[in-house]
């Protein structure tokens, strides 16, 4: 197991390198550069000077290596758009916010989705089942910006129960709307996965044995059924987690949460190369780490799984 983990960790490096290469060339291949301003087009001599200052006049392979060597040493470069901040400043400030919001959304999603899925599985083909799956389909199909806008309109504008936006940490009222909006997607996905997983587990012989032993319904369903049903679901949720904790552009824009989400899009549209590259690397790291965590968890939860 240890050797497996070490091997997986070492594999992160070539993965990141590949992501970096693809992102680098895509970003430089996109038409339009960071200083293409229509409002007051800069004189060519000025643009030359900027290129020299930011090493953009070097041959492309040299820029590739320069940024890479900087990134390895922790220097992620300056932001071309937000001139008074470094990329590292931006990440240090915005990532924790997205992380906190994402984790809250996931917890909420799990609290909503898991019981819903379990209920649907146990009461298969009843009205409860149909309603739960209807909710799940709606949750998966509705884009999260529609949910966010609807929640803001209803809860903040019409009912004045919650503030319409802003961020004051995890334990304040401002987190409720964005967390809910972000939670519906994972909740619905989880509900569906749990339901199908549970349905399989409920048919197993050991469930019948447990019941025959006289254990209460709750212990049988939760202790024996859910515990086993969760295992395959965890493997599927790695991407879910990565997606949510790196921030959602729409939800963060609509609810004014100062997270990473908007930087993903604004850096791309503003051709802020260092920010785009840093964010691509960050997202890649998060996904790879999440996958590894989930695989290890899988081995821990299911003793039949053994890694060589």
């Amino acid at each position: 197991m240890g050797a497996y983990i070490v091997r997986r960790v070492l594999l992160i490096i070539p993965t990141l390198l590949l992501v970096y290469t693809i992102a680098f060339f895509m970003v430089h291949a996109t038409p339009g550069g960071p200083w293409d301003n229509a409002e007051k087009p800069l004189p060519p001599a000025v643009i030359e000077n900027i290129k020299i200052k930011y090493h953009l006049d070097d041959p492309i392979w040299k820029q590739y290596l320069e940024y890479l060597s900087g990134a390895v040493r922790g220097d992620l470069g300056p932001s071309y758009v937000n001139r008074s901040q470094d990329v590292a400043d931006i990440l240090r400030r915005a990532f924790p916010v997205s992380l906190q919001l994402g984790i809250t959304a996931l917890v909420l999603g799990a609290l909503i989705g898991i019981p819903l899925g379990t209920l649907a599985a146990v009461k298969q083909n009843t009205l409860t089942d149909y309603l739960a799956m209807f909710f799940a389909v709606v949750g998966v199909s509705t884009p999260n910006y529609v949910t966010a806008s609807a929640l803001v309109l209803i809860l903040a504008v019409f009912l004045h129960w919650l503030p319409p936006g802003g961020w004051h940490g995890v334990f304040s009222k401002t987190i409720i709307i964005p967390a809910l909006a972000l939670a519906f997607g994972p909740a619905s996905a989880l509900a569906r996965y749990i339901r199908s997983s549970m349905l399989e587990v409920l048919r197993q012989d050991y469930m019948r044995t447990a019941r025959a032993k006289g254990l209460s319904d709750r212990v049988v369903i939760i202790g024996h059924g859910l515990r086993n049903a969760l295992v395959p679901v965890i493997t599927v949720s790695a991407f879910l987690v990565a997606d949510v904790i790196t921030g959602s552009f729409f939800v963060e824009t609509i609810t004014s949460v100062p997270g990473l989400g908007r930087y993903f899009v604004n850096a791309a549209t503003g051709r802020d190369y260092p920010v785009v590259l840093a964010l691509s690397l960050l997202f890649a790291i998060v996904i790879v780490v999440m996958n590894l965590v989930v695989d290890v968890l899988y081995a821990v939860l299911d003793p039949r799984v053994r890694y060589r």
């Binding site: 038409p31 339009g32 550069g33 293409d36 301003n37 229509a38 409002e39 007051k40 087009p41 800069l42 004189p43 060519p44 001599a45 000025v46 643009i47 030359e48 000077n49 900027i50 200052k53 300056p78 758009v81 937000n82 001139r83 008074s84 901040q85 931006i90 400030r93 915005a94 209920l119 146990v122 009461k123 083909n125 009843t126 009205l127 409860t128 149909y130 309109l153 903040a156 504008v157 004045h160 503030p163 319409p164 936006g165 802003g166 409920l202 019941r211 319904d217 709750r218 049988v220 369903i221 963060e252 824009t253 609509i254 004014s256 100062p258 997270g259 908007r262 604004n266 549209t269 503003g270």
Partner: protein, 609 residues
């Protein structure tokens, strides 16, 4: 099928008897159709009552708010054409004049990329920056108002400017404000390595262009000097009657050298920043909020407001109306077409809505030099103009957000000449199209219209395509471009041909110098129209040098006539601002041009509410 083992579950939710899938779908269908029918009935019934409430509230609004101009006609009549605009201050909607204990205003904004005067180019940093830094002069009702400069002399030939600074002014860290700070800031803005977008604002000075483009690397070649602490001198290339207007803009603000030396790029961050204005930067939580507080050591008239906070949203156009309705902000002037109808028909908010003119025009620009395209023919461009119904565009497509523009230059800039607009309607349009060689649209090769992604342009482009097809029978293809892609294309159009695109120009300051010689003359041609008209160039050159204001205005008006005959751009609408202001906010002045942001908040008082 083998019977499934039945598990008994806890009592909540109660056990529901099994229902077959077919029954469920029947139930769902019945439920859905009843709700749809019910919604339709409600909409039909509710719709008829809405117009009457809007009419009565509009009447009361007009009656009560005497000082705020609610119709563009009123504003235009009050300001003589050619008079730089100053929007009226908002009168409070509540009665009584008792001030609230906490004088705090909340105004929405987007994250500014920085707050450096020498780099400022966009609304978001300008509106905050103009509160923090004081310029030499500002303008109110067309008259210059001394701020940092107590008085100034202009030589008789109009090229030598000497500013005498006020003594006793201090930066927020206690250092005195001197002429050296202005000299440093202006030369810094021109430094090539800073890559300031607005360095060209300083080009009137001798040596500035060469220094900025790198032809001359010696900063002392720029004719801006500070002979002593309180005297600032500048020499311009040619007489520049508009120079004082420029001095009121953001690029001309002073910058403290020692702060930049100490903190480099980060000198604008809270804790490092040093300012000399009515307000000081207290906090800047990136992406969240900017808070500025009254400068208690300010030498001049202190504002009544103690604090302004700018909650930051990534897209105020989509969030600010909701924030206003949820009472998170006090003013918003970023109302989009999707919200404006709702706001206008709301009984409360329609009273709080104010409509101002803003100095600027949106238009379609043509490549007059593209001989492979119909747009190079003046008759064709005239035909397009006559076939365009600007009133419908503004009222129906843009939901009354803006005023139609019969001519290019906006009403507040000298040279505004609505009589120069071609007349004749669709019939004349068809005739012009025939003169261009495409009678009834026969043989028309098709043209392409591009624009940078913006919800207003999106709507406009489709409406124009429709109008031109219906009225002229011609085909127009549309292409919407993402903003940097458009910018790259825009920069390439100095050399590569194009056909037409939508864009706009908003005045930095309300003077014709910010329009005619910069935008439409053959050598400047800011919008790459490749329109060459020697008469127009001569007319503008003569007007630029004219020092008598009335003669100057007449000269520019003649230029406008020539401009509308050549039609290198097709004017669509004049930029306006629709703002919602809380009834307890008194004295807010929506800036008519960007340089007037300084006065926006200085007179604001919060009344008790």
């Amino acid at each position: 099928m083998r019977a499934e083992p039945r598990f008994r579950v806890p009592s909540f939710p109660p056990q529901i008897t099994q229902i077959s899938r077919r029954h469920l779908i029947q139930l769902a269908g019945a439920g859905a159709s009843t709700s749809v029918i019910g919604a339709l009935l409600a909409a039909c019934g509710g719709g008829s009552s809405a117009p009457t409430t809007a009419a009565t509230t509009a009447a009361t609004a007009a009656a009560t708010s005497a000082a705020s101009a609610t119709t563009p006609a009123a504003t235009a009549a009050a300001a003589q054409p050619g008079t730089p605009l100053s929007n009226p201050t908002v009168a409070a909607g509540v009665s009584g004049t008792k001030l609230a204990a906490k004088q705090e205003l909340r105004y929405p904004n987007t994250e500014p990329p920085h707050l450096d005067p020498d780099l400022m180019e966009g609304r978001h940093e300008i509106l905050v920056g103009m509160q923090l830094f004081d310029p030499l002069v500002t303008f109110e009702n067309e008259q210059p108002v001394p701020i940092c400069a107590e008085k100034w002399d202009v030589s008789s030939d109009g090229t030598q400017y000497t500013f005498h600074l006020r003594s006793g002014m201090k930066w927020s860290d206690g250092q005195p404000v001197t002429a050296h700070d202005f000299e440093y800031s202006w030369k810094r803005a021109l430094t090539p390595s800073l890559a300031s977008d607005y360095a060209s604002a300083l080009y009137p000075f001798k040596g500035a262009l060469d220094f900025n483009t790198g032809k001359n690397t010696d900063p002392t070649s720029v004719q801006i000097t500070a002979p002593d602490d309180l005297t600032l001198q500048g020499t311009t290339d040619h007489p520049a009657p508009y120079l004082l207007h420029l001095c009121a803009t953001w690029t001309y603000l002073p910058v403290p050298k020692w702060a930049v030396d100490k903190s480099g790029d980060k000198w604008v961050e809270p804790g490092n920043i040093v300012t000399n204005g009515m307000f000081k930067l207290q906090d800047w939580k990136h992406d969240q909020e900017i808070v500025i507080v009254r400068n208690e050591d300010y030498w001049g008239q202190k504002p009544t407001l103690q604090q302004i906070s700018f909650p930051i949203s990534a897209d105020p156009f989509s969030t600010s109306v909701k924030d206003y309705e949820a009472n998170a902000i006090d003013i918003t002037d970023e109302i989009g077409p999707s919200d404006i109808t709702r706001v206008k028909s709301d009984p409360t908010y329609s009273k709080e809505l104010h409509h101002y003119v803003w100095s600027g025009t949106a238009f379609v620009a043509f490549d007059c030099g593209n001989t492979a395209s119909p747009v190079s023919k003046a008759d064709f461009r005239q035909a397009l103009y006559l076939a365009t119904d600007q009133k419908t565009l503004c009222q129906s497509v843009l939901k009354g957000l803006y005023d139609p523009a019969p001519t290019v230059t906006p009403p507040d800039v000298a040279g505004y000449n609505p009589s120069a607009a071609p007349t004749g309607g669709v019939d004349a349009a068809k005739q012009k199209l025939a003169s261009a060689g495409y009678a009834n649209g026969q043989g028309f090769p098709g043209v392409k219209l591009v624009w940078p992604a913006d919800v207003r342009y999106d709507l406009l482009a489709q409406a124009l395509q429709q109008m031109w097809k219906t009225n002229l029978g011609i085909e127009v293809t549309l292409q919407r471009m993402e903003s940097k892609e458009f910018n790259a294309a825009f920069n390439s159009w100095t050399k590569t041909p194009f056909e037409m695109y939508i864009d706009r120009w908003g005045s930095d300051y309300s003077d014709p110098y910010n329009w005619y010689p910069i935008l439409w003359t053959s050598d400047q041609d800011f919008f790459r129209t490749h329109w060459k008209n020697a008469d127009f160039d001569k007319q503008v050159a003569a007007a630029d040098l004219e020092l008598d204001p009335d003669k100057r205005k007449a000269e520019y008006e003649k230029a406008e006539t020539l401009l509308m005959q050549g039609m290198p751009v097709l004017p669509l609408y004049h930029l306006d601002v629709n703002a919602m202001v809380r009834p307890y906010v008194e004295g807010f002045k929506e800036p008519a041009s960007a340089a007037q942001w300084r006065q926006a908040f200085s007179g604001v008082k919060i009344l008790e509410h």
